[in-house]
């Protein structure tokens, strides 16, 4: 890592940013990332039939599998993005958020939402929709929390005059869509609609949660950080608009592609497929735009670690989307639906793309937040390589496993054969998981050391700024 990426930027609007809250959000995100990974391990060890906790109710792999996915969505991603927003929005608007008190209230409320969700899932109170498992008594609180988030950040954004940078377009859209998506997924299929139509709404929900909550916040952050780190404007502002409007129009139309070959009417399934392939074209423009920005500065990939995190994520994004365009076709679906291919795909998106971006953002921001260089740049490198390689191995491994499972089923082999053929893949998956997990441990060790040498630590030891 060069000094270039660590140059202190003495912004005049520093006082607009509640840096302490950014740190809190990031620490919460890292904490939930660990919880989620432990849940993943429990399920992974169960699959290779070496779960040491078999038969213990509160450590049931089924319940922990739901904690695994929910902790990533609402614990890791949501917290990390909120920290991110507290850094970015005041800088782009030159205004602070609506209310700092409200910001702290949202932080506390959101942790309650996530912890209560985990508690509810552990006690077997889940609801039957992926990412919508949040027990019913928490849904209203989460809904209010999302509304407050929207109000708190939209107030400064809407006050800005003149042209708005694409990051803010993405963020504005995400605030509104996330609120609507959460409401749709957590109430409609549970209370108002049953059966096949509930499947259609459920598909739309899980799809929109990725596309209208995670994706716009992710790309919005990339449009902010990449030009700053590379010290040049984005390659084409026009193209960034194509990406934005293309996502806004095509992405929500695809929910049903999660349930192809169900009794949902075929014409709706075809619509979802066509729209999916259309959005991949749009994705291509976004990727081209970012690599166009990188052109001429590609040395930054070697010297600037956050940039390397970001562009690795973008390459994984391109792979994911190429995969999408293929796997959404009926031909592919016949083979890979219900297999580990889908699990590999999910990890590629959530950890490979958005996880990498957010870890890159943290790598960039922690030195600025703690007013100290990373204690060990070498450990930063280890964090990157263990995470990226581990993830790549896991995604490749599960994708292959999916093909074998699909072929085994189609060949009408006894069911056990599909389990036996999966075993080597599931064992490799554990090793990949261990690699990703140790990457995060290295990250935490490095963070702890950095905190030790931070002037903040020395200055405010007694008032405990960061509960580490």
């Amino acid at each position: 890592m060069t000094n270039d990426s660590l140059t202190r930027d003495a912004l005049p609007n520093r006082e607009l940013i509640e840096e302490r809250l950014v740190v809190w959000y990031f620490l919460a995100a890292i904490g939930y990332l660990f919880v989620s990974m432990l849940g993943g391990f429990l399920m992974a060890f169960q699959l290779i039939r070496h779960n040491p906790f078999n038969g213990i109710e509160l450590l049931s792999p089924g319940r922990w599998r739901m904690i695994h996915t929910n902790a990533i969505a609402y614990g890791f991603l949501a917290n990390a993005f909120l920290g991110n927003l507290h850094w970015i929005v005041p800088r782009l608007t030159l205004r602070s958020v609506m209310s700092r008190k409200l910001s702290y209230f949202i932080f506390a409320a959101w942790q309650i939402v996530v912890l209560a969700t985990a508690g509810g899932l552990l006690l077997g109170e889940a609801q039957g929709l992926e990412w919508g498992e949040t027990p019913v008594w928490i849904d209203p609180l989460a809904q209010v929390g999302l509304l407050l988030v929207a109000v708190n950040f939209m107030t400064p954004i809407l006050k800005t005059k003149g042209p708005m940078y694409v990051t803010l377009w993405y963020f504005l859209a995400a605030f509104i869509w996330t609120f609507l998506t959460y409401a749709m997924g957590n109430f409609v299929p549970e209370y108002f609609v049953a059966g096949t139509s509930a499947g259609a709404v459920g598909g739309l929900f899980i799809h929109d949660l990725v596309g209208l909550f995670v994706t716009p916040l992710g790309w919005g952050s990339m449009y902010f950080f990449v030009p700053i780190l590379l010290r040049k404007p984005i390659w084409s502002h026009g193209m960034s608009m194509v990406g934005f409007w293309g996502l806004a129009f095509f992405y929500p139309l695809q929910g049903i592609h999660h349930f192809l070959y169900t009794p949902i009417p075929m014409f709706l399934q075809y619509g979802a497929i066509v729209s999916t392939i259309a959005v991949e074209m749009v994705v291509l423009t976004v990727i081209v735009n970012f690599f166009g920005t990188l052109k001429g500065s590609s040395r930054a990939l070697a010297t600037n670690l956050p940039i390397r995190w970001f562009f690795t994520g973008m390459i994984f994004y391109a792979i994911t989307c190429a995969q999408c365009a293929l796997q959404t076709t009926l031909t592919f679906q016949a083979l890979i639906h219900f297999t580990d291919w889908v699990v590999g795909h999910a990890h590629l998106v959530m950890f490979g793309v958005f996880g990498q971006w957010l870890l890159g953002v943290m790598t960039y921001l922690f030195p600025r937040l703690l007013k100290s260089d990373w204690a060990s740049p070498k450990l930063c490198e280890w964090h990157y390589w263990l995470s990226a390689v581990g993830l790549f191995v896991m995604a490749l491994d599960l994708t292959l496993a999916g093909l074998f499972q699909g072929w085994s089923w189609a060949a009408l082999q006894p069911w056990d054969a599909s389990i036996e053929v999966s075993q080597p893949f599931w064992i490799v998956r554990i090793w990949a998981g261990i690699s990703m997990f140790s990457g995060q441990i290295v990250f935490c060790v490095n963070l702890w050391k950095t905190w030790q040498q931070s002037p903040l630590n020395k200055a405010v030891m007694s008032s405990a700024v960061v509960p580490a």
């Binding site: 038969g55 504005l172 059966g195 929109d208 806004a248 699909g406």
Partner: protein
């Protein structure tokens, strides 16, 4: 509204979201309007009642502990059994969701990949129009086989032992053990155990060709109950 970019965006964002909701959710909803959503009470059928009463005979102590004694009078008794079956189905579904069974077992036979050969009839919309499919249990991953045609294929005691310790019946199974559905041994299912067994036996019980490819013969029982002579 249309003077500012934020206003245009808000409208466009809402419009796109609504368009997606209409095309992906409202359209199928309207198309299935004529198929009324059934309640758990309406879902109780002869096959399921047989299985539920089988639980009463097979695990009399557990059954009495969970539900009390059925009334002696025939009409009352019928009503009582039907109501208990429906209540148990609801609890069974809650457990199926809460234990995340649906994360490893689908309930949806596709018209491709030879699934009709393996599990028999391809799933139809009408099968899902009931309160136990709210939200629908299509599933997301098949570590274990599809369960939508599982009812009646295997006896209650097979299912009980399998839930208690899957590897004792299917060697190499990666399914977790569920001892908390039982009071210490597989022949003592508790209220939750009886509920999950009932729910499993419900799956597919509505089909005409029930049960499917395995010739199901009820395990022999000491006959003392006059209502057990059917089947």
């Amino acid at each position: 509204m249309l003077e500012s970019k934020a206003g245009v965006m808000l409208l466009a964002g809402l419009a796109f979201f609504t368009l997606a909701f209409v095309s992906n959710a409202v359209v199928p909803l309207l198309m299935y309007q004529d198929q009324r959503e059934q309640t758990a009470e309406q879902l109780v059928n002869g096959n399921l009642r047989y299985q539920f009463e089988d639980l009463a005979r097979r695990y009399p102590d557990s059954f009495e502990k969970a539900y009390g004694k059925p009334p002696e009078e025939v009409v009352e008794r019928e009503k009582w059994f039907n109501q208990k079956t429906a209540d148990t189905l609801r609890l069974g579904r809650k457990l199926y969701v809460g234990e995340a069974c649906w994360h490893c077992h689908s309930q949806f036979v596709r018209p491709v990949s030879n699934e009709e050969q393996r599990w028999r009839p391809v799933s139809r919309s009408i099968e899902y129009q009931n309160e136990l499919q709210r939200p629908v249990m299509f599933g997301t991953r098949r570590v274990g086989p599809d369960l939508s045609r599982e009812g009646g294929r295997r006896s209650n005691d097979w299912q009980a032992v399998h839930l208690f310790k899957p590897t004792s019946l299917s060697e190499g199974s990666p399914m977790p053990e569920y001892p908390w559905f039982f009071d210490g041994s597989p022949d003592k299912p508790n209220a939750r155990g009886l509920a999950i067994l009932t729910y499993i036996q419900w799956l597919g019980s509505w089909l005409e060709s029930y049960p499917y490819y395995e010739q199901y013969t009820p395990a022999p029982l000491p006959v003392e109950d006059p209502s057990s002579e059917s089947q």
